[in-house]
């Protein structure tokens, strides 16, 4: 081959290498990746809080925002972790902007680890490896094909409305509106499954974890009819530059509507500020928008906006 042939060949490979991974991505994903690449050298900020002993000896209900969708929930003597995320990147490229608000080595035991869906920011193999393995890992129906043997005492798949009940703990997988797959190309492959919300009940306390979801009034009203929710943990981003949500992500306004639909006493927002997402004009865009809505609706008392690492105790 001549030098010109080699040049053409190398250019062709470079094109395929770059184009193939991106062709399965929406403009939203492309924007997140490019924004994150621009911030490769920016330092990761420390969290506003870091609780050294997150498991409390005597508490009815406590919720600690670890960052993004990772919440440490304690109901009396049981500990639940949702969508753990401790790694510096998600999906190889998207960088963390703020360090996790919890050191996983400070956890001696997690009874149940709940995975809402299979996307990198919610189902992080590296983060799951850092958790204690004495408890159970619960994944949505259709998730097993994406689940390595991680060493948990048991791994269970739950279908929408399926219940796991044992030792006084009742965990229900509840329907939400999102999309399946993990890698982009498998959205169609795993369509209609692989995502869920969770309702956790123990000793008279009920926590609803929405995972990642678009607004679906029938689902949320049904959850409100079936459960008496004390705390609803609901995403508020990504919302982009607009104020309305999308089919797969709720806006702060829709998050507040979910609070009303499930009739929760308290809402704790999540899924914002943690990674360099670049879809909002500022990292606090969704949170500021939420604050404005709370002022308009005069429902400040029902929404606890936590900082990363902050623990809310009932």
């Amino acid at each position: 081959m001549t030098q010109a042939d080699w040049t053409r060949f190398v250019k062709g490979i470079a094109f395929v290498f770059l184009a193939l991974p991106m062709c399965g991505c929406s403009s939203y994903v492309t924007r997140i990746v490019s924004y994150s690449l621009q911030r490769m050298t920016e330092p990761i900020q420390p969290p506003a809080h870091r609780v050294l002993s997150p498991i409390l000896p005597n508490t009815n209900l406590a919720v600690l925002w670890v960052g993004h969708a990772a919440m440490l929930i304690q109901i009396h003597d049981k500990v639940f972790m949702t969508d753990p995320s401790f790694t510096k990147t998600i999906g190889l490229i998207v960088r963390r902007a703020v360090e996790p608000g919890l050191d996983p080595s400070s956890l001696s035991s997690v009874d149940y680890t709940l995975i809402s869906h299979l996307h990198f920011d919610h189902f992080s193999y590296g983060s799951l490896d850092l958790l204690p393995k004495n408890g159970k890992l619960l994944i949505p129906s259709g998730g097993a094909a994406y689940t390595p043997e991680l060493g948990f005492a048991e791994t269970r798949e739950l279908k929408p409305w399926e219940v796991l009940e044992e030792n006084g703990v009742r965990i229900t997988a509840v329907p939400v509106q999102h999309f399946g797959g993990r890698y982009g190309f498998d959205i169609q492959w795993n369509a209609g499954r692989g995502y869920t919300g969770w309702v956790v009940e123990y000793k008279g306390k009920t926590v609803f974890v929405a995972g990642d979801t678009g607004y679906h009034p029938e689902y949320f009203k049904e959850i409100g009819r079936r459960f008496s929710v004390d705390v609803a943990i609901v995403p508020i981003a990504p919302v982009g530059t607009r104020e309305s949500g999308s089919r797969v992500h709720v806006s702060p306004k829709e998050a507040v509507q979910i609070l009303e639909d499930v009739n929760a006493k308290i809402m704790i927002p999540m899924h914002h500020r943690t990674f360099f997402q670049g879809v909002e004009t500022a990292p606090t865009f969704a949170q500021d928008l939420l604050k404005r809505i709370l002022e308009e609706k005069k429902i400040h008392a029902r929404v606890k906006i936590l900082d990363i690492g902050e623990q809310w105790i009932e």
Binding site: M1, F9, I13, V16, F17, L20, P21, C23, G24, C25, S26, Y28, T87, G91, L92, Y125, G126, D129, G142, A144, A145, Y146, T147, P148, E149, L150, T155, E157, P160, P175, V176, Q177, H178, F179, G180, R182, Y183, G184, F185, D186, I187, Q188, W189, N190, A191, G192, R193, T196, G214, H216, R247, V248
Partner: protein, 171 residues
């Protein structure tokens, strides 16, 4: 492909039909890998399409069968597996009297970082068929980018041949 991949919210009950799933698999199987064949006399390039008649995964949860045939979700491969792969090749120039080749390979995939999703090692053996010749190859390579991208190097002692491949493995 982009239309198929556009994120679509579905209710929990609207699962993909078998035909949707098979069509998705076929689309991605059609994407070729790139092969560079180097002998003492010439260097050639070509395209290669792989399929997996059988794979045994030892890295996945026990909720799923460790045995896979043709349809292999990426984690089943990159979390640790032994894979029997067959491939067909089209070369840009003739080897002997044919543009076409084929191979059968037995590969072991060993996870290195993030259960193999970020980085994995591949080792194995294989036999290629070019024209009248069926050389025996040793295979070594790495995989990255969620197991999609494999860089493999295959070497045959007799006849002296090198095959380098950039493989795109989706299923």
């Amino acid at each position: 492909m982009i239309i198929v991949l556009a994120p679509t919210a579905r209710s929990q009950t609207q699962e993909a039909s078998l035909s949707d799933r098979v069509f998705t698999w076929l689309q991605f199987q059609a994407i070729p890998s790139i092969t560079i064949l180097s002998s003492t006399s010439a260097t050639q390039t070509g395209f290669e399409w792989e399929a997996t008649p059988l794979l045994y995964s030892f890295g996945m949860t026990r909720l799923v069968s460790p045995w896979k045939s043709f349809i292999v979700e990426p984690p089943a491969r990159f979390t640790g597996s032994i894979e029997f792969v067959v491939s067909g090749q089209i070369l840009t120039e003739k080897v002997g009297n044919s543009y076409f080749g084929g191979s059968a390979q037995l590969l072991g995939h060993i996870p290195l970082i993030e259960r193999g999703e970020h980085l994995g090692l591949t080792v194995g053996i294989g036999s290629y068929s070019f024209s009248q010749s069926t050389p025996f190859f040793k295979v070594v390579g790495i995989s990255t980018l969620f197991g999609f991208l494999h860089f493999n190097l295959k070497q045959s002692a007799s006849p002296k041949l090198w095959v380098g491949s950039i493989e795109f493995r989706f299923f």
